[in-house]
């Protein structure tokens, strides 16, 4: 058949020819002319070596090093490359039995023949030396350097946290992690994991038949450099922290110290604690098990996860809310003759003169006074029902950072408990409860629970006369001047600052001439409040909250010593010593110090 366009077939032929030629020329270029793609005749192979960046270091607020890295060595294996090795020699070099060797090999081969697996974790530096020399004899094995954490000062274990190997669940969730990688499991190692870990890099090496690295592939053109992890500068004062842990030796409880003007946490002590170096490296699993089974629960971070009734330390808060809600003024006086009586209920109070005004009620920690204040709050007819009054009271309490989590940069905190009206409805029946049913709330007992961190924050609020910054641990990320912007917001409570003066004055009197007078210092104006929290499981907890100096305060602190009795006996002196240590950098009251350090409350109980 004729085709008027039949000459076009030549065009098509030409196109075929051109394409064919282009391809062949390209092949010529890649295969023959250009050496870059050509690997030498001895069967070179590329190996992708992951470059692990240095994990960020952690410093205290004065630049003291808290956490650094130490190199360890893992022996890695790529099963597919393993051929004809002298297993006996290898076993001797590593220090394992032949049965163990076979067991490991089987397990690894089941996982993957091509992917590198960890054969032996953290071989000692010495073994590594011998091994590296002989490694060329063992195809398929190579050494991967890793870093473990080291703690020059064995303090702040709970805050710093620890790292451990990733489990398969994490690997599946986040592709960044490969088997054998480490990840922060608790403390700021966990919350700042992404900052601390940096970014892995890849070096592509050319390897020969003997598995020896012959150099970088294309001079490192395709390598990605690793990015070192960023350092963290915490707000912790290492000396203060260490001192606090010393004072809390052989006692259960916690100390939390905050800088009120910034919300930075100066010390976070949970006792009993443990040496962070225990949870590092090969010994970690065993030590972790021991610690986990220890009846005293040293792994438990009491500062964030233990909830206690605040006891009398709650009275200043009541005083503030009472004023804000219009039923209380600094001049308000109530009589007290040994207790508060209403119907069949009696709340006992200790001996002190009567009547007392607001300041004095705080100074002498009068239960009666505050029961009466609570009555006027809840029975205030302006609110029509007990429920309404209670809800307003509760809302005011919540504004002090209570009953909710701070969601700051420490993981695993509890929110404390401020009971709701619904709770009482359920327990007693709707409209079947009154201020009297819940009178224990007036003196910080009953269903109210605070964590030590929340209590310290309350102290900071009073120190600031009405607001707080979210308590946090990390001051700066990367370098000292790169301030952490996250926690710069002021949180105001619902109580106007004019109402704080009388309360501050009352707390000053506590230490000057009240229930906390034993810790008074001539050179420093300390404001505090004692508390003796009743505890259904045993002896009362000794509680104390304080800040100093009275004007332009530098430190706000809460101390809780479990099952220790009166607040004034144990918690107050500990707080006093901590304050002295922080403000003056050294403690002169040696008797008090010795008594505290030597006291062993754990064996007594």
């Amino acid at each position: 058949m004729k085709n008027t366009y039949s000459h076009r077939k030549y065009v098509v032929y030409i196109i075929l020819g051109i394409v064919g030629t282009i391809f062949i020329l390209r092949l010529l270029y890649i295969q023959v002319i250009n050496d870059k793609y050509k690997l030498s005749a001895s069967n070179n192979v590329l190996r992708y070596v992951t470059e692990y960046p240095a994990r960020g270091l952690i410093y205290d607020r004065n630049g003291k090093l808290l956490v650094y890295n130490e190199a360890v060595y893992d022996l890695m294996i790529v099963p597919r490359n393993v051929k004809n090795i002298d297993t006996t020699e290898l076993c001797n070099l590593i220090g394992i039995s032949k049965e163990m060797f076979i067991k490991k090999i089987k397990k690894i081969c089941k996982y993957s023949m091509y992917k590198p697996s960890v054969f032996e974790k953290q071989i000692s530096k010495e073994s590594c030396g011998y091994l590296q020399e002989k490694l060329y004899k063992f195809h398929g094995f190579y050494v991967q350097t890793r870093a473990l954490r080291k703690y020059p000062l064995p303090v702040a274990a709970h805050t710093l946290g620890y790292i451990s190997e990733v489990n398969p669940y994490i690997i599946e969730k986040d592709k960044y992690y490969k088997p054998g990688d480490y990840i922060g499991k608790s403390g700021i190692e966990k919350t700042y994991e992404e900052v601390l870990r940096g970014q892995k890099g890849v070096k592509i090496k050319v390897v020969d038949v003997f598995n020896r690295e012959k150099g970088s592939f294309q001079d490192g053109r395709y390598d990605t450099a690793s990015i070192a992890g960023k350092n963290l500068y915490t707000s912790i004062d290492a000396d203060l922290q260490a001192y606090g842990e010393l004072l809390m030796k052989n006692k259960k409880g916690s100390i939390v110290a905050i800088e009120p003007s910034t919300g930075e946490i100066l010390a976070l002590v949970s006792s009993p604690s443990y040496n962070p170096n225990l949870l590092v490296g090969r010994i970690r699993s065993k030590n972790y098990e021991n610690l986990a089974h220890n009846k005293l629960e040293p792994l438990f971070n009491r500062a964030l996860m233990a909830q206690y009734p605040p006891g009398s330390t709650f009275k200043p808060v009541q005083a503030l809310i009472g004023q804000q809600m219009g039923v209380l003024s600094p001049e308000t006086k109530y009589e007290c003759h040994g207790g508060f009586h209403a119907g069949s209920i009696t709340v006992h109070c200790h001996n002190h003169r009567s009547p007392l005004n607001l300041k004095e009620a705080i100074q002498y920690s009068c239960n009666t006074y505050f029961c009466k204040v609570f009555k006027t709050i809840i029975n205030n007819t302006d609110f029509k029902t007990t429920q309404n009054a209670f809800n307003v009271w509760r809302k005011n309490i919540l504004s002090f950072g209570l009953g909710t989590k701070f969601n700051d940069d420490l993981p695993y905190e509890l929110s404390g408990n401020i009971p709701t009206d619904k709770y009482y409805d359920k327990y007693y029946g709707k409209n079947r409860w009154s201020y009297l049913t819940i009178i224990s709330l007036a003196i910080g007992q009953g269903e109210i629970e605070l964590t030590p961190l929340q209590l310290a924050n309350v102290s900071a609020i009073i120190a600031n006369r009405g607001y707080y910054y979210t308590p946090h641990i990390v001051k700066a990320i990367g370098n000292k001047y790169n301030a952490n912007e996250k926690y710069k917001d002021k949180h105001f409570t619902s109580v106007e600052s004019k109402y704080f003066d009388s309360v501050v004055e009352g707390m000053y009197l506590v230490v000057e001439a009240g229930t906390g007078r034993w810790i008074k210092m001539d050179s420093l104006s300390i404001c505090g409040k004692t508390g003796t929290a009743q505890n259904p499981h045993g002896k009362e907890h000794s509680v104390f909250m304080a800040f100093a100096p009275k004007d332009n305060p530098e430190i706000a602190i809460s101390v809780i010593v479990e099952n220790a009795g009166f607040g004034a006996t144990w918690a107050a002196p500990i707080a006093g010593l901590m304050i002295e240590k922080y403000i003056y950098r050294k403690v002169k009251r040696k008797n008090m110090e010795t008594r505290i350090i030597n006291c062993d409350l754990i064996s007594k109980n």
């Binding site: 390209r26 092949l27 793609y37 992708y48």
Partner: protein
């Protein structure tokens, strides 16, 4: 002759799959659990198909062209609803332990339909109606495949442009496509304003040399505006219309990304594998890159790497020459056909095969962005082997009956 080439290519393809997927635990090339064993089954069945086609009267194909086309369209629609979802696309029917890919069969079906349509009396490509209907015949399967989504398989419908060209479509379309490609590349490689600026300069130069008649100036200005607009829109289209993996692949091609562990990985490994073959190659079963599985998809889309690595420059050039030989032969035979249907079908066959050839090998060599389409007769896969076999042998049969007609 064609049959000879066909058998040769299939055989080479088969043993290369063997090498690519070689598993020491399954040394026999006949082992059915491995891809190479399975490929043998596909080869055997393809040969049966081929023989079957050779026994049917060739007229059946031209008579049933539209029916076959219709069935393939139905299959394409069907797979969108009842197909198995793999990697985010519904391209396969799962029947027992076999998978069937309708987009492969649509290739020869469309070829039949186009051949039938364009060979109908009084249909000339010059007419608008013809052009429109052609676009429709090509467009329906292409769009259905795009919906799966499988952009790679949809692109091959562009290959039919060759057929249209041969049938009289203006060659200008290719020039326009070429210019578009150049503009697209420039827009990606350089700042778009620089490119528009360069275009302006070129337009001004043109202005100097042409007759300064009104008509010419209008044409020139329009052309400039269109080009500039196109360049300008490339940015937008690139960012907002293309999917991430498509963007990445184009970036890798133009050297904008050197991501050796991500998208650039395939191509780089492929070039390494091929490049490492040297002049004579490393020898059968000795390819270290492919042996250690450095090249992903090495028995399917990147099968050419095994050839490059193990048979070297000599071997890969021979394969390329074999393919070109096959294509040339098909055209030669197509030209001597007496029926328009057969000529057009023949061109369609070579167009489809050639397109796959360019893109697949171009991709492994790093001169075409990574587009996942198989290398005819080489890549592992039942659907593709069957469909290419059918495609080719319908044509062989047409030729065999050439002298039998009238």
């Amino acid at each position: 002759m064609i049959v000879l080439l066909y058998l040769l290519l299939i055989f080479i393809g088969w043993i290369n799959i063997y090498s690519a997927v070689y598993n020491e635990n399954h040394k026999s090339i006949l082992d059915i659990t491995q891809n190479y064993g399975k490929q043998l089954i596909w080869i055997a069945t393809s040969i049966i198909l081929a023989v079957f086609i050779l026994f049917i009267d060739s007229k059946i194909f031209s008579i049933f062209s539209y029916v076959i086309y219709g069935i393939s369209i139905l299959l394409l629609i069907g797979v969108l609803f009842i197909g198995k979802e793999v990697s985010g696309a519904r391209s396969w029917f799962q029947i027992g332990s076999f998978a069937l890919q309708p987009s492969e069969f649509a290739k020869f079906a469309t070829n039949l339909a186009i051949a039938k349509y364009l060979s109908s009396p009084n249909i000339k490509i010059k007419y608008l109606k013809t052009k429109t209907l052609t676009v429709v015949i090509l467009g329906i399967p292409a769009i259905l495949i795009l919906l799966q989504p499988d952009a790679g398989s949809a692109i091959i419908y562009l290959s039919f442009l060759f057929v249209l060209y041969r049938e009289g479509m203006s060659g200008n379309i290719f020039i326009i496509l070429l210019i578009a490609l150049i503009l697209f590349s420039s827009a990606l490689l350089f700042n778009k304003f620089i490119v528009i600026g360069a275009l302006a300069v070129i337009a001004l130069l043109f202005l100097f040399f042409i007759k300064k008649k009104r008509k010419e100036i209008v044409i020139l200005s329009t052309a400039f505006l269109l080009c500039a607009g196109f360049v300008y829109s490339v940015d937008y289209v690139f960012e907002n219309v293309l999917e991430k993996h498509q963007k990445d692949r184009i970036n890798v091609l133009y050297g904008k990304t050197k991501d050796i562990k991500g998208v650039g990985y395939n191509v780089n490994q492929s070039k390494i594998a091929i490049g490492s073959g040297g002049f004579l190659g490393k020898g059968f079963l000795q390819g270290t890159q492919t042996k250690y599985n450095f090249v992903p998809e090495q028995s399917t889309d990147f099968i050419f790497c095994t050839i490059g690595e193990e048979w070297g420059f000599v071997g890969s050039s021979i394969v390329i020459i074999l393919f070109i030989g096959l294509f040339t032969r098909i055209i030669f035979i197509a030209e001597r056909q007496r029926f328009k249907f057969s000529i057009i079908y023949g061109y369609g066959t070579v167009a489809i095969l050639f397109f796959h050839f360019i893109i697949n090998i171009g991709m492994t060599l790093g001169i075409v962005p990574v587009i996942g389409i198989p290398l005819p007769f080489f890549s592992y896969g039942g659907s593709s082997l069957w469909s290419f076999t059918i495609l080719l042998f319908i044509f062989v049969k047409q030729d065999a009956d050439r002298l039998k007609t009238l």
